[in-house]
């Protein structure tokens, strides 16, 4: 296990954990949406994580998976923001 692999594993876990803590602690829906996005960054980093693959360079299959995931995440965020505005939570929509 190389130092760089441990670094990226820790980073993925930390991003996921920070996002999850934010989702369960905050009551503001916008802050929760930010938390879900940061959890997503952690999951994507885990998918791109160089640790377990050996041999010829980075694996393009998880790369394609993450690109697809990014587009789905932005569509979900846009829908979430529309719902937050529609709900008019806290009058100011935040």
């Amino acid at each position: 296990m190389s130092a760089v692999a441990i670094l990226y594993a820790g980073l993925a876990a930390a991003l996921f954990g920070l996002g999850l803590i934010s989702v369960v602690l905050h009551r503001s829906p916008l802050r929760r949406l930010l938390g879900i996005n940061v959890m997503g960054l952690g999951v994507f980093t885990a998918l791109l994580y160089p640790g377990p693959v050996e041999g010829s360079g980075p694996d393009p299959v998880p790369h394609a998976l993450v690109i697809t995931g990014l587009v789905v995440a932005v569509a979900g965020t846009a829908l979430g923001l529309s719902l937050i505005r529609r709900a008019g939570i806290g009058q100011d929509g935040i």
Binding site: A9, V53, G55, V72, G76
Partner: protein
């Protein structure tokens, strides 16, 4: 709850560190890359090996738009920006972004880039035009989603048509795979750009 979140993060870390080295799918991707007509392995995965995923992703964007658009707005959109500098600047920037998107789409066959990145650049151009009141995205409910769906239908139709040549849906005939992928990328990127720009605007009334 915080302890639970910390435990989940710790489990993810331990799981990642304990993963045993595996060969990965790189050799498989490289073995058949000549049949895909593109040399960028990520584009080959997105538009050929796993074209199914990309098709479903486009459907998700159209569905998200269909869900977001009818939410009756509580807030009117801002009046368009005015003034010669901002209008002229965006008038010059938007076409440049469109050309850059086209380049990113084209270069995606052989180098980092591709339809999804191009779609984001085109969506940015559409959004910028919207801010100066020269938007190209139709305002009427469901029209943008309908136009997006046309792009998805082109992708779907091509995938179905492939059955006649290879016996498998979404499996392009190797001889023309490069051209087919380029055509599908253009349709997919246009649908995605329109969908993302309309999602950006969803939930606000016309100014």
């Amino acid at each position: 709850m915080v302890l639970g979140a910390l435990a989940a993060a710790a489990a993810l870390f331990v799981g990642l560190v304990l993963l045993q080295p595996v060969p990965g799918l790189t050799p498989e991707v490289e073995r058949h890359i000549a049949e895909t007509g593109v040399s960028n392995p990520v584009t080959a995965v997105l538009l050929d090996y796993r074209a199914y995923d990309t098709l479903m992703e486009l459907l998700i964007v159209v569905l998200a738009l269909l869900a977001a658009e009818p939410l009756a707005p509580r807030i009117a959109a801002r009046a368009p920006l005015a003034g010669p500098v901002v209008v002229g600047g965006i008038g010059a920037l938007a076409p440049a972004l469109a050309v850059l998107g086209g380049y990113v789409l084209w270069i995606g066959a052989t180098a980092p880039g591709g339809a999804l990145q191009a779609a984001a650049l085109w969506a940015a151009a559409l959004i910028l035009l919207e801010t100066v009141g020269r938007g190209l995205v139709p305002r009427a409910t469901n029209h943008a989603a309908g136009l997006s769906a046309i792009g998805v239908a082109v992708f779907f139709g091509a995938g179905l048509g492939a059955v006649a040549f290879t016996g498998m849906p979404l499996d392009w005939p190797a001889k023309h795979a490069g051209a087919i992928i380029l055509g599908i990328e253009v349709a997919a990127a246009a649908a995605l750009a329109l969908g993302l720009a309309a999602l950006f605007r969803a939930g606000t009334a016309a100014p």
